[in-house]
């Protein structure tokens, strides 16, 4: 088959850029579009913003002294002057919850971030290097994970102290094992991708590949699991405080309040149990829901939409 002479001419050159009619949208923008489709996650963000505002801005509007014991007003039910009643030391429950919430959130965020950074780095290096080093690094993680988490925490906090800074470190350094396993798994898959080969072929070294190619491509996993580990840290701290090994009075956190409250559960002092419990549950739930939505956002933002 041959073409008529006039048809063998060059085709009209494809107008450059015609395939890219849409204006470029940044990755974050695309991610936000997916994220915002998840209504529950938006609610969770709202709840979290409210709780943060309540804890950090609340004390500016609602004044109360949470360090002075007032034995004339112990275990008062909610009423005038004390909207949520008082605890066994006569301290205002509402004010105490704001301050305790601050501590819980601070420790949770800081510990969660430590876990994320430590976990991602350790996992990326282990997965990328591979071989017996990887095997060794992972067996170390396995042995650490074979201890019950609460046992580790009890040990660390009773040996190294119960100050805020130490608690952040203690909780942070016991909650990165999960992240590291996930990141290592992803690193194993990413290091055999063509773009890592391409980079290696150009002469890139291990450090460059880990920081430019492996870590950015595990960011989804890392961020999602950071939100989970923040929730876990809040929970772990509550547990520690509940068994009396968390922050010591007059410092307080939500878990500590719950601990005190449950001592009086028999007397029907519900205001000492339900408010802090509800806030803890809301914080943990919100972070988990946001984590789920972030996972969707990170996964689909790479696809054509």
């Amino acid at each position: 088959m041959t073409l008529a002479p006039e048809t063998t001419a060059e085709p009209p050159a494809a107008a450059p850029g015609t395939e890219l009619a849409e204006p470029p949208r940044s990755m974050l923008r695309r991610g936000w579009e997916v994220f915002s489709e998840n209504k529950l996650a938006l609610v969770a963000v709202g709840v979290l913003v409210l709780i943060i505002g309540f804890c950090f801005l609340g004390p500016l509007f609602y004044h109360s002294d949470t360090s002075v014991v007032d034995l004339s007003a112990v275990t008062k039910p909610p009423g005038a002057g004390h909207p949520l009643g008082t605890d066994n030391d006569g301290i205002d429950e509402l004010g105490k919850m704001m301050v305790g919430g601050q501590t819980s959130l601070e420790i949770g965020l800081a510990a969660g971030s430590i876990a994320a950074i430590a976990g991602a780095l350790y996992g990326a290096v282990s997965g990328f290097v591979g071989g017996w080093i990887d095997a060794l690094m992972m067996r170390v993680i396995d042995s650490l994970m074979s201890f019950p988490l609460i046992f580790l925490l009890i040990y660390l906090s009773s040996v190294y102290g119960k100050s805020k800074g130490m608690l952040i470190l203690e909780v942070g350094l016991t909650s990165w094992f999960g992240i590291t396993r996930l990141v290592r798994g992803e690193a194993l898959a990413i290091k055999v991708r063509d773009y890592v080969d391409a980079s290696r072929m150009m002469g890139a070294g291990g450090t460059r590949i880990i920081f430019k190619h492996i870590l950015p491509n595990t960011i989804g996993t890392t961020i999602v699991n950071t939100t989970f580990s923040i929730a876990d840290a809040v929970f772990a701290l509550s547990t520690l405080s509940y068994i009396g090994l968390g922050l010591q009075a007059p410092n307080n956190d939500l878990g500590g309040m719950l601990d005190v409250g449950t001592n009086y559960a028999g007397q029907g002092y519900w205001w000492m149990i339900y408010p802090p419990a509800v806030v803890i549950i809301l914080i943990i739930l919100s972070f988990n829901v946001i984590g789920d939505a972030l996972r969707d956002a990170f996964e689909s933002r790479l696809q054509k939409r």
């Binding site: 088959m1 085709p11 150009m202």
Partner: protein, 690 residues
Amino acid sequence: MALLEVIGLRTEIRLKRSVVHALDGINLSVDAGETLGIVGESGCGKTMTAMSIMQLLPNGGTVVGGQIRLDGRDLLSLSPEEMDSVRGNDIGMIFQDPTTSLNPTMTIGRQISESVRIHRGASKKEAHERAVEALSLVGMPSPKQRALVYPHELSGGMRQRAMIAMALANEPKLLIADEPTTALDVTIQKQILELIDNLKQQLGMAVILVTHDLGVIAGRADKIAVMYAGKVVETTSTRALFANPRHPYTEALFASLPERSAESGERLYSIPGLPPDLTKPPAGCRFAARCRYATDECRTSEPPLAGTVEEHRFACFLPVGEPVYRTEAAPVAATAVATERVRVSRDSTLTEPLLRIEGLVKDYPVTAGLVLRRNVGSVSAVADVSLTVHQGETVGLVGESGCGKTTVGKLIVGLEKPTGGSLLFQDRDLAQAPRAERRHLRRDVQLMFQDSYAAMNPRMMVRSVMREPLDIHRVDSPAERDRRIREIFDLVGLPLSALDRYPHEFSGGQRQRVGLARALALRPKLIVADEPVSALDVSIQSQVLNLMRDLQGELGLSYLFISHDLSVIRYLSDRIGVMYLGKLVEIGPAESVYANPVHHYTRGLLDTIPVADPAVEAAKSSQGIAGELPSAIDPPSGCRFRTRCPAAQEICARVEPKLAPYGPDNHLAACHLPLRPAAAAAQEVAPALV
């Protein structure tokens, strides 16, 4: 009345925010004992047609109109339960990838008998007997034993046979084969296609063969429907379509095929632009935006599927070709051009050798045990390959998957370390040189990946992707690097706005351009191109091939072009090397290897590869290459091809043949019993010319 009649079929897929009008008024008919080929580029709706008939649409997909009549019964009016009894009983289906279509936890025999038990209510024993029968029907050796194995224990070709056996166990009236051989090697492809053909005749089935490969369709289909953007644009008998295409899209597809220009060496025709977005299909002819003949009428009103003759229908206002039903190519025009050979085969062997590979060996150890990794053997991926690439030359490496061609490429660019032999680039050893020098040498040798998308970090903008090689080698100042990137983008014909995009925003062809641009960033002398076009549609493939050719002329590049596709290799290469199971079995000037092969494997490969010309396909008598690629862990002694060679004799098993010259033009082959006699004067070939 035809066995299957599809009338005005319309299928839509509901997405979150839009509706894809995947099929819009498809009309097809297939008679018993007939093969209908559905051909088109990816995304044209050919698989969607098959899935609509089976009513196995993806999530959100629904048939919104039309009729599908099988033996006069409208499948669309059936209840889901009734449809279940049609599927797998009246209609059988073969999928593209047999690995994912078989359940890995069930034996082959049980999977086949399962459908027999469901549809025929057979007892376990009867069903198993039927399964064994079906397996022997599809040419599975020792079917009784094979019925008891799990899918992973079978090779790819055998798995596809098992799939076919499963589809045929209930003797369906219609067999739908959706890209049945795309995941298989050419030699296996031929065996499977032949099998489907034979079974069709034996059982009197109708077959719908869905494929993107014009070569496959030319040899196997009785009639063809060409699809574009959810519509049938042309339908007629196979011979008529190839001899006298009437729709400009069909014409353009044929003109994009590299084999059509291989002899002349002309630039390939490429269809500009991309298929339309089917969420908002264009008002007029859907091909108008990319058609070189399009007028205003084409853009505003839609041409009906009509034609001057009943047997040949097409949807175009301005048809090309001749308004007659013709099944033979126009004789005058064909000879006038075909005899005039424009292509001048450059004898590049006279220029400076750029890359010299000598006795290259790569073995991968096979280990056993989890803790103490004992070496229990080795996979011989590349065994003693010697090859030279000269300045400005294109050398093609061709062979089946597993023949070691990709490993050769990886060894050259330094992604793997050779077990033995040397890789001399401008007389410096690429593998042995000191680290600093090796780094420098690597700048001159770059790799172009098969899948450029996979070879770009999805979280990097194209600007960073392009800058990476320059940053790693700290070439010039940062400003100078940006200037160089702009210059290269100009060269490969990409808009500068593309720099601020992410890789996923590009089409396949554009990505391959970016991939080529990145390979060029360090101004290399040699580009190893590993299957650079095999993931692209024909029309896009031709754009990339043209570009590669243009750049070679402009920049004086050398290419080592690795592909399984002989027609692409032939179009682009000056010399062709044929590999089989780690060995280079034949190498010589492209036309000489193509027209006068010496090695039986080359001959077999040439016979096996489907050509988009029904006349050529019909004339092929050879059986291709029998059997399957043996394991490289324990390769056959002597000549590695002997186990599948039609001419093999006792000497082939004892003595390993060496490359020897055949003819004066450096045509070498390694065979004891060559297809033509060796060069009269057994002149020694200087190693530099190998």
